[in-house]
Symmetry: C3
Subunit: 140 residues, 3 copies
């Protein structure tokens, strides 16, 4: 019989960077006892992203930061929306260039992630923020 | 008892820019009487995007346009696919850099969007177009 | 009565480029007999993407490659994660700039894609790879 379950995960970021929370989602899944289904993650913010990326080599995430800092520079003179800080408009753009929601199948009671895939909150603001992720399971 | 409902929203764009349709989705949700579930939005085009972004300060959307116009310039000499206009290939690329489908949880009968999140059609072509969004609800 | 079905599609890429697999998904859908519902596709990799894009003019995909090669150059001196090759870090970044999962509604037994939309694996590594896509149907 198909059923649903919903949760909220709160992540206290310490400013710009990656915060993996694959284990938190996996734990909620285990408690839900769903064997076959899918989970949707939705981040309720416009200046941070959800990203599935390599969880092996931390250098990868450093290069992500370097690349995005060059692609969308803080304090770029192009921007008119500057009242909330040099990093605010870049944070919105980084968010649009990535994603705020993800849907992942559940197969045999586990997230159908690849071997190297981890689920990250990517904080784009330089200051710490409390970020909220809605977790929606559907399955049986 | 889990059930589904499907609708189509048509948006007549007036050319490049942002068209918020959060209220149209919220109204369909209200009529569906679904309290717990999720909604998937799918845009049936390859030169416009769906974007969840800040709905407070309109300057943010102006900066989005400025940034993407610099990132993917109309009429860039790099492009060979130019038969449909200077803005056509950039429109495809902007679409790939953002998204054409979104899935948003439904909690207590409401879209689980954050305080500042609105749902936008982002038209990338300079001329007006009629854009179709398929709306799929599942829940109870 | 709502039900689910899951499959895995394996795509043997011949290196960087686009591999359409819309027909494989449509065939699985036909066999599932689902008339109303949705399908989620999840790619289990961090250096390739899933992309919905124009399936008419092949020049479009050539321009995609040209644009992304300029945006995220192979062997860029910015990158420190170079142990796996000049194309590895760019492949991760291209993946983050696009998507690894998609959810598409099913209307009247068909994928609710637009006339010009095809579903592609976009391989970002220069060498051939075997890529796995998990396909999750829910509907009735």
């Amino acid at each position: 019989m198909l059923r649903q379950a919903q949760h909220e995960i709160t992540i206290a970021s310490r400013g710009r960077g990656f915060y993996e929370f694959t284990d938190e989602v996996a734990l909620l899944l285990r408690n839900s006892k769903i064997q076959t289904g899918q989970v949707t993650l939705h981040l309720q913010h416009t200046s941070a992203s959800l990203l599935i990326q390599e969880n092996a080599d931390p250098e990868v995430r450093c290069d992500f930061e370097r690349f995005f800092s060059r692609l969308v520079p803080d304090g770029d003179s192009l921007f008119e929306h500057t009242a909330e800080g040099d990093d605010d408009m870049p944070a919105h753009l980084r968010t649009a260039l990535t994603a705020v929601n993800l849907t992942i199948p559940i197969v045999s009671g586990r997230l159908a992630l690849g071997t190297w895939q981890g689920i990250y909150l990517w904080e784009h603001r330089t200051h710490p923020h409390r970020r909220h992720v809605i977790v929606h399971f559907i399955g049986e």
